[in-house]
Symmetry: C2
C-alpha cells in the first residue's frame, strides 16, 4: 500500500474531434480537475467539492462520477476501504470538455495508487466509464480514455472495448474556447439523428480514415481536409450561438480544423504552432464577443501524458 | 507520340474490403484484362473482344466501359484520334472483381501512352471512373483507383475526389475465390440500406480507422479485428450461397479476415504468407463445393504495381 493521502490531476479532453464522432478524443494541458484522496478508517466515500460551478454536482457517492467510478473499482477488487475525497473542479461541468470524465479518472487513479496499484492503468478504464454513467445515460470512452492515458486515442470498438493510442505529432497544438453559455448534454444527445444516410456514413468513415493517416504521416493538410463531421455538428451547431463565425475565425487564423468539443458549447481548434494556437484563441474569443458571448481560451500542445499523481 | 500499337494489362481488384465499404480497394496479381490498342487513320473506336463471358459485353464505344473511358479522355484532351482496341477479358464480368474497372483502366492507360502521355497517371482516374458508368449507375473509384495505381487505396473523399495510397505490408497476401454463380450488380446495390443506424456508422468508422492503423503499423491482428462490415455484408451475404461456411473455412485456415469482394459473389481473404493464402483458397473452394458450387481460387501478394504497359 502506498501513501495514505495524495493528489491526482486529470485534464480536460476534447471528444469527437469532428470526423471522429464517438471514436476520437484527445487530452489537453489545462484546465484540469485535482482530487485529494485519503484513506479513512471506516468504509464508504466522503466527498467534498470546490471550484467553478461545482454547486450543482451531487456528492452522494452513487450519483457522483468520481464516487461511482471508485465504487466500481472497489467492487471489482472486492475491497471495502473507505476514502475521504476532495474534488477541486478546474473544468466547468457542462462545457463539453469532459468535466465528469476527468473527475472519474482522477478518483480511480488515486484510489488505485492508495491501494498499492492492484490494477494496471488500462484496466482502470472500465471503472472510469462506469463512473460517467452517474451523469450520462450510456457509457462512453472518448473523454475518459484520453484523460486517463493521455494523447490522442481511437475507440476502435466498444464491444469488446478496444482503445488505441494514436501518433501525436510534436507540434500539434490545441485551442479550446469555452463560451459563457450552457448546452444541456442530454439535449445535445437527444438532438442527434438515430439513423444517417449510408452515403454520409461512408463520407464520415473516409474522413476518419484520412484523419488517422494525417496523424500517422503528420500531414496536417490531410488532417484538416478530413476534419468534417456529418453526424453531430449539423444539428449541434444550432445549439451554439455564433458557431459558424467562431469556426471561420479559427480557420482564418490558421487553424488546421475547428469543431465542437464533445457535445459543446466549447469549440476546439487544432494548429501547428504555439503562436497560431494563441492567435486562434484570441480570434475565436473576439468572434464569440461579437455575438454577445464572453468566452475564454486555453491553448496547449496535445497533452501526451497520462493522468498524473502530484507529489 | 509513342508507338502506334501496344498492350496494357490491368488487374482485378477487391473493393470494400469489409470495413471499407466504398472507401477501400486493393489490386491483386491476377486475373487481369489485357487490351491491345492501335491508332487507326479514322476517328472513332473500333472494339473487339474475347475471353470468358465476354459475349454479354456491348461493343458500342458509349456502352462499353473501356470505350466510354477512352471517349472521356479524348474529349477532355480535345482529340479525335481513332483507335482499334481488342479487349481480352481475363476477369469474368459480374464476379465482383472490378472487371469493368480493369478494362476502363487498361484502355485509358493505353490511349494516354499512344498519345505521348499528355496526362499524368493520377489525372487518368476521373476518365476511368467515367468509363465505369457505362455499366454502373453511379461513379465509384474503389475498383478503378487500385487497378490504375496498384496497392491498397483509400478513397478519402468523392467531392472533391481524393485517393490516397496506403502502406502495403511486404507479406500481405490476398486470396479470392470466384464461385460459378451470378449476382446481378444492380440487385446487389439495390439491396443496400439507404440509411444506417448512427451506432452502426460509428462502429464502421472505428473499424475502418483500425484497418488503416493495422496497415500502417503492420499489425495483422488489429487488421483482422477491424475487418467487420455492418453496411453491405449483412444484406449481400444472402445473395451468396454458402457465404457463412466459406468465410468460416477461410478463417479456420488462418485468414486475417474474409468478406465479399465488391458486390460479390467472389469472396476475398487476407493472410500473411503464401502458404496460408494457398491453403485458404483450397478450403474456400471445398466449402463452396459442399454447397454444390464449383469455384476457383487466385492467391497472390497484394499487387503494388500500377496498370502495366506490356512490351
Amino acid at each position: 500500500m502506498g501513501d495514505k493521502r495524495l493528489k491526482v490531476r486529470a485534464t480536460a479532453t476534447v471528444a469527437n474531434v469532428s470526423c471522429g464522432f464517438d471514436c476520437i478524443g484527445y487530452s489537453i494541458g489545462s484546465p484540469a480537475d485535482i482530487l485529494t484522496l485519503e484513506i479513512q478508517d471506516k468504509p464508504g466515500l466522503e466527498l467534498t467539492i470546490s471550484g467553478e460551478k461545482s454547486g450543482t454536482i451531487p456528492l452522494e457517492a452513487e450519483d457522483n462520477t468520481a464516487g461511482k467510478a471508485i465504487l466500481s473499482l472497489l467492487n471489482s477488487l472486492d475491497r471495502d476501504t473507505g476514502f475521504r475525497i476532495h474534488i477541486e473542479k478546474g473544468i466547468p461541468p457542462g462545457s463539453g470538455l469532459g468535466s465528469s470524465a476527468a473527475s472519474a479518472v482522477a478518483g480511480v487513479v488515486g484510489v488505485n495508487e492508495l491501494l498499492g496499484n492492484p490494477m494496471e492503468e488500462d484496466e482502470l478504464l472500465v471503472h472510469c466509464m462506469a463512473g460517467e454513467t452517474a451523469s450520462a445515460p450510456t457509457e462512453h470512452a472518448d473523454n475518459v480514455a484520453p484523460s486517463l492515458l493521455g494523447g490522442i486515442v481511437l475507440i476502435r470498438s466498444y464491444e469488446p472495448l478496444e482503445v488505441l493510442k494514436l501518433n501525436v505529432p510534436d507540434n500539434l497544438y490545441s485551442t479550446v474556447v469555452l463560451p459563457d453559455y450552457s448546452v444541456n448534454t442530454r439535449d445535445a444527445r437527444n438532438i442527434l439523428p438515430k439513423t444517417v444516410p449510408l452515403k454520409s456514413a461512408i463520407t464520415q468513415s473516409g474522413n476518419l480514415a484520412g484523419f488517422i493517416l494525417g496523424l500517422e504521416n503528420e500531414d496536417f493538410d490531410l488532417l484538416g481536409r478530413s476534419m468534417v463531421d456529418l453526424f453531430a455538428e449539423p444539428v449541434r451547431k444550432k445549439l451554439i450561438p455564433g458557431f459558424e463565425s467562431v469556426r471561420q475565425a479559427a480557420l482564418d487564423s490558421g487553424a488546421i480544423g475547428c469543431g465542437i468539443s464533445g457535445s459543446g458549447p466549447t469549440l476546439f481548434a487544432l494548429s501547428s504552432s504555439e503562436e497560431d494556437a494563441s492567435k486562434i484563441g484570441k480570434s475565436m474569443v473576439e468572434a464569440f464577443l461579437k455575438k454577445g458571448l464572453k468566452s475564454r481560451a486555453y491553448s496547449s500542445l496535445i497533452n501526451n501524458q497520462p493522468a498524473k499523481i502530484l507529489d
